[in-house]
Amino acid sequence: MIRVRGLRKHYKVHERPPGVAAAFRSLFHREYKTVAAVDGIDFRIEPGERVGFLGPNGAGKTTTLKLLAGLLHPTSGEVSVDGHEPRRREDAYLKKIMLVLGQKQQLLWDLPPSETFELNRAVYDVPRAQFVETMRELSELLELGDLVKRPTRTLSLGERMKCELAAALVHRPQVLFLDEPTIGLDVSMQATVRGFVQRYNERYGATLILTSHYMEDVQRLCPRVIVIDKGKLVYDGALEELVTRIRPDKRIILRFSRPVDESEVASFGTIVRDGEPTGAPCWSIALDVHMDAVNRVVTEALSRLPVRDLTVESPPLEEVMSELFARGKAS
């Protein structure tokens, strides 16, 4: 239902070298540079899917999202969402989607969230009965209670975010774009938001596109990821596969019953270090081992070393991503 082909978005940015003289000259003559925020992207997303957009800062994720929402016009390429062309911003289209921007809010600041809900109801033309039903469900799912009756400015950041989500979903959009929805929230609030988003998707079958810097978000919510770097699509597929492709390692963490010198484990795999090797024996050592070699390494470690505890994990997603982007930089 979302089809994107050859999508490009270029900006002309005015460049100015530093210094007062240059600043003055820029009054009369300006140099412009073209920046390709999005540079030829293709993908298809089916209804009900949950997809995560990953990429370093400035990669073009938010721009792509805004292009899908119709807020920006593409420089070239085709975009179609549920048969609509977003750039035309037809009323029918806008009633089907919603964009949630982390850190920015649409709630009226001095009035209670309930007023914003009412306003949205009028704007989106939601029948009264459906509205009451939707708000009841959302209130339950998000645990809003009496929050909606207090002026927005008196709510904490987490409470505001919950109400913001409720306001965004008054019209039960079928397509939900989330741009860094959990940014700045504390850990428990992040979990609440994630859980809610997942339940909304399951309950209403809404299609979800999410951008986030928190790997937790992507891991929990998105079975499929699209990685964008420098405006280009670098990867599109299951998250698991991406991890395997970039870092086909597993991380083995060994905890010993007596300190062990690093040299004893050096042959097993790459030792993961925080800083410089101290040379002294350690109580625990983490190793990155190729997934095919895990069985062998585990068997050997258990037989040869005084292992008290052993864990096998996937390497942290953050590291995988860093490596992916670093490779992008190199190429």
Partner: protein, 261 residues
């Protein structure tokens, strides 16, 4: 129909907001009283030494000031507060939310906020009209009032369009601290009958920045001296102004890059 309901919702939100801050509510009312003074002083000063300003007598010139006061009320009560929210949205980056809604952005933004106390200006304007007619020693005919009402509609549309153009500048200008000052500066010239200005300026104020449409023509309508042709011209001018403003607005929205995403 939906838009009518939407308008009602926006007005309601504004009222709730106005009543939320009681101190402000009272302050606004209190401050309103003082606005009458600057309205009259310039005219009084000039007419103290001159019985006529061009072809306008004091009583006649009062009509222009009356309309000026009325339009100021419309400007400060209905137009300015809402359009200031555009500026705010652009600064905070929340204009995206307005654009995402399935309703016309210009409508949403124009009806976002009202200032209820400004209706005092309407009464002040009427007071000034009465004063003017007392000075002239006569009253307006019902026909005059009818024509004046039509001229007033054209005036309000022209004022609104001018403001939309000013606010559209907010899209091109990164820091728009003083757009309302700019507008007030230009609008202020409307307190004078347009024929008092030298020819070039008069043409400017009739065809480019239609201040003549806003105060001079309704004043002449009230005095019964507005030719039909000019009235038709005023209406046409209002329509043209509105269309131009709409085109510029849409172009500005199109250009709007929510950069920094």
């Amino acid at each position: 129909m939906r838009y009518a309901r939407l308008l009602l919702m926006q007005v309601r939100a504004s009222m709730l907001l106005a009543l939320q801050y009681r101190a402000d509510f009272l302050l606004d009312g209190f401050v309103e009283i003082f606005w009458m003074v600057p309205a009259i002083v310039p005219l009084a000063v000039v007419f103290r030494v001159r019985p006529h300003l061009g072809e306008w007598s004091f009583g006649e010139a009062l009509m222009v000031v009356g309309w000026f006061t009325f339009l100021q009320g419309v400007l400060e009560g209905v137009i300015n507060p809402s359009l200031v929210t555009v500026v705010d949205h652009i600064r905070k980056g929340t204009l995206d939310f307005v654009l995402l809604k399935p309703a016309d952005a210009q409508f949403l933004v124009s009806t976002a906020r009202f200032q209820p106390w400004q209706c005092v200006n309407v009464f002040t304007a009427v007071g000034i009209f009465v004063w003017g007619f007392v000075v002239l020693g006569r009253g307006p005919t019902p026909a005059d009032i009818g024509v004046a009402t039509v001229a007033m509609l054209a005036a309000v549309v022209a004022l609104y369009s001018l403001w939309i153009l000013t606010v559209s500048a907010a899209f091109y200008v990164v820091r728009i601290d003083n757009l309302s000052q700019l507008f007030n500066a230009i609008f202020d010239a409307a307190r004078w009958p347009v024929s008092v200005f030298p020819r070039v300026v008069r043409l400017l104020f009739t065809f480019v920045i239609p201040l003549a449409l806003m105060t001079t023509y309704p004043a002449r309508a009230l005095l019964g001296t507005l030719p039909w042709a000019t009235l038709a011209g005023a209406l046409g001018g209002g329509i043209i102004a509105f269309t131009v403003a709409r085109i510029v607005w849409k172009a500005s929205i199109a250009r709007y890059t929510s950069a920094g995403g």
